[in-house]
Amino acid sequence: MNDGAKLRVLLADEQSLFREAVRVVLSAEDDFDVVAEARDGIQAVAEAVRTHPDVAMLDAGLPNCDGIRATQMIVERVPHCRVIVFSGEEDERILLEAMEAGASGYLSKEAPLADLMAAARAVHRGEALVPPRMLGALLQRVIHRRRERDEALKRMTNLTRREREVLALLALGADNDLIAQRLVISPETARTHVQNVLGKLGVHSRLEAAAFVTQNGILDDLVGVER
């Protein structure tokens, strides 16, 4: 949002009645402008890309690409857009998935509409918004994920530079031949490197190794491999 400009909102919910209610309430405020509406996830992402809203409010249960997946896609495609996910009732699983997908806030539809407006203003200021009663569980999850990532990074330090390159290529779906081609080594050497990587990481397959990288978000930590 530019200085003095209204906060531009994308509203996505399958139910037109809910969208209408929220739009009416937001439009009555001086600082809100509902720039787009969507009734499913795909439309929400498309509208976000088209209108570049400041805040996207998404129902978790959107049809055709749910609100969690739509959150992830919007955050990737419109980085400045902050996303609030809401669901029918407070649901810890949805909260965790939403925050991991990149949402900045989570609300249940049981909350007053005034809370939704306050949430939109808050996330736009850069704050995270979580129902207080759910904060502890969320922090536990955040800490757990950090520990997993630290552990993954620790295991990665056992890899040689070449093995890191191999792991990065594995994570990108390369087979032995492609790894060999990219690293200018023989397929047999590539296979040896792959076996060493699997052994050092304590995983049993290429797929598991790729998942190890993806789940821990460590692709960028691997040495530069031209993608």
């Binding site: 925050m99 995270a128 904060l135 502890g136 536990q140």
Partner: protein, 92 residues
Amino acid sequence: MSVSTRRPIRKQEVWLRQAEDENVVYDPETGSVHILNATAVAIWVLCDGETEPLEMVDAICGLTGLPHEVVSEDVYGILDEFDRAGILGWTK
């Protein structure tokens, strides 16, 4: 002993009751009742004997974007209050 090298753990017998707008910790041993705000409840939940205070601070900073020193002061302040109320133990 530095607080940051130890891990806080809730006293087993103390229980937390969360109502609509009120969070109460009750210690049946002493009969004491403590009313907690939302942040204090979150910290209380994290006092599992495995989580270091610094991990709590880092997680809250990561989630909220608040400055480390501000969060650190809050977290250690709350833990100190729990400690003084006698509802917390520490593990190494």
